[in-house]
């Protein structure tokens, strides 16, 4: 498990990141990439207890400027409770701006509702398709 993001300060670095897909995190189940417009992250693959730490790690290098952060989850084929918990935790600990969830798979919406996590002030489920 390696963390490729962080410390990209110069415009050149950011351009490079965008050109190469801006991989923030990758393991054999999950790839997280940076998105520019809107500002956020794209999650593809599976999240379970073995890699749910990637959610907080990826968000910590993508704090932005306090505005809303957009997460494209349309490529998530699986996400367990520990993964959702990480998203909720990240939303609750944000100092400003909301966490906007795009393309949340239907079953995940059901799970969030069933587990009492569907109505949180800093976590917004967008019904549009995908972040981009």
């Amino acid at each position: 498990m390696e963390l490729l993001g962080g410390g990209r300060d110069s415009i050149d670095d950011r351009l490079d990141a965008a050109l190469e897909g801006g991989i923030v995190y990758a393991d054999k189940l999950l790839v997280v990439t940076r998105t520019e417009d809107p500002t956020g992250l794209c999650f593809a693959g599976e999240i379970d207890v073995s890699n749910s730490h990637a959610v907080a790690e990826s968000l910590s290098v993508t704090e932005g400027d306090g505005a809303d952060l957009h997460l494209d989850l349309s490529g998530l084929s699986f996400c367990d409770i520990s993964g959702i918990r990480s998203l909720v935790d990240a939303a609750e600990t944000r100092l400003s701006g909301r966490l906007m969830l795009h393309g949340l798979p239907e079953l995940l919406q059901t799970v969030m509702k069933a587990t009492g996590w569907s109505e949180l002030p800093n976590l917004h489920i967008c019904n549009c398709r995908g972040a981009r």
Binding site: L29, E46, D48, V49, S50, F78, D80, I81, S82, R85, V88, D89, E92, L107, V111, A114, T115, G116
Partner: protein
């Protein structure tokens, strides 16, 4: 004259009503409901659609003050019934307001596995509400259609039993403490397993692939993702709280796919799978979720560890119906 005086109960009263046929059912339930309505108590009746219709007719105008819910929906998985009663009590029982309920979770058509879980549910009601606010729950049992052993168990899980219009304290009630004792009723050994694997912390993805494949092969493709999600949580519990590993078995029983997880952990919170998760981020949610997604969840606490079986039928289950609010 009323069989059930409107005297307020001073604690949770869990009472079995033994009735023989439809007329006896009406005689045993209508005065109970009517007395509640006339005393201004919220009343929720969770019964079959047929019995709800019978009661509406028998109650006449009083029916409009009663909440009804279909037990086939609410109690499809019996572990969802306690949360439904919790919702009723918390929504309508503010400031210790007295309430009444009627719930018939056990009927002739219940499968043997469902029946045992329903009986566990009846015992757990004592644990769930025995220390809380006073309210009165009447549980009808049809003596014409149910086995004598089922009626006998009703006398163990209910503190009071009414039969032929006479109420008595049950002399074989198992009591509050024993009602929540570790549940160790043996589970039947299945036929041929379709799949089996020992798993550790790095095997969750492999478990998901295995179960997903068997779900598709069993023709429950539409519900495969729900089953995989529930099973993943149960296996995660084994990894985090059950000694770090476990064994998975998958088999089919008619149109139901069953997944079993065994581990060396000890499940000792009898209501953990049926208490609505608190808003706290860290509150456990896995077994609760399994009960919301699966048709039946069997949990056993055995000397060698914990066993959890998840049942998923080919037909979609009826989901919990929302109880309409009292005006």
């Amino acid at each position: 004259m009323s069989t059930f005086p409107a005297s307020a109960v001073e604690k949770f009263r869990h009472e079995a009503l033994l009735y023989a046929g439809g007329a006896d059912f009406i005689t045993g339930t209508v005065p109970f409901i009517r007395d509640g309505v006339r005393a201004g108590e919220p009343v929720l009746v969770v019964e079959s659609v047929d019995k709800i219709e019978l009661l509406r007719v028998a109650l006449g105008d009083d029916a409009s003050a009663v909440l009804f819910a279909d037990m086939a929906g609410v109690g499809a998985n019996p572990a969802r019934i306690i949360p439904a009663w919790h919702d009723f009590v918390s929504r309508h029982g503010a400031a210790g307001r007295r309430l009444r309920g009627i719930g018939e979770p056990i009927w002739k058509g219940r499968s043997p596995d469902e029946l045992i879980e329903c009986q566990r549910h009846e015992s757990l009601l004592n644990v769930a509400f025995g220390h809380g606010q006073p309210w009165w729950l009447l549980c009808p049992y049809d003596t014409e259609r149910l086995d004598a052993a089922v009626i006998e168990e009703a006398r163990r899980s209910h503190e009071f039993v009414t039969e032929r219009s006479t109420v008595k304290a049950s002399d074989i009630f198992r009591g509050l403490e024993a009602s929540g004792a570790p549940f160790d009723v043996p589970l039947p050994e299945p036929g041929t397993a379709l799949g089996q694997m020992a798993f550790g912390p790095n095997d969750l993805a492999a478990i998901r692939v295995l179960v997903s494949r068997h779900a598709r092969a069993a023709g429950i493709e539409a519900r495969a993702a729900e089953l995989v999600t529930a099973l993943n949580e149960v296996a995660t519990n084994s990894i985090r709280h059950g000694g770090g590993s476990g064994t998975l078995r998958v088999w089919q029983e008619d149109s139901t796919l069953v997944c079993e997880v065994r581990d060396r952990g000890r499940f000792d919170k009898p209501l953990a799978d049926r208490e609505r998760p608190s808003v706290s981020v860290s509150a456990p949610r896995g077994l609760w979720l399994a009960n919301q997604l699966c048709d039946l969840v069997q949990i056993r606490t055995l000397p060698e560890g914990t066993v959890v079986r998840l049942h998923m039928r080919r037909r979609p289950q009826q989901h919990l119906r929302v109880v309409p609010a009292v005006n």
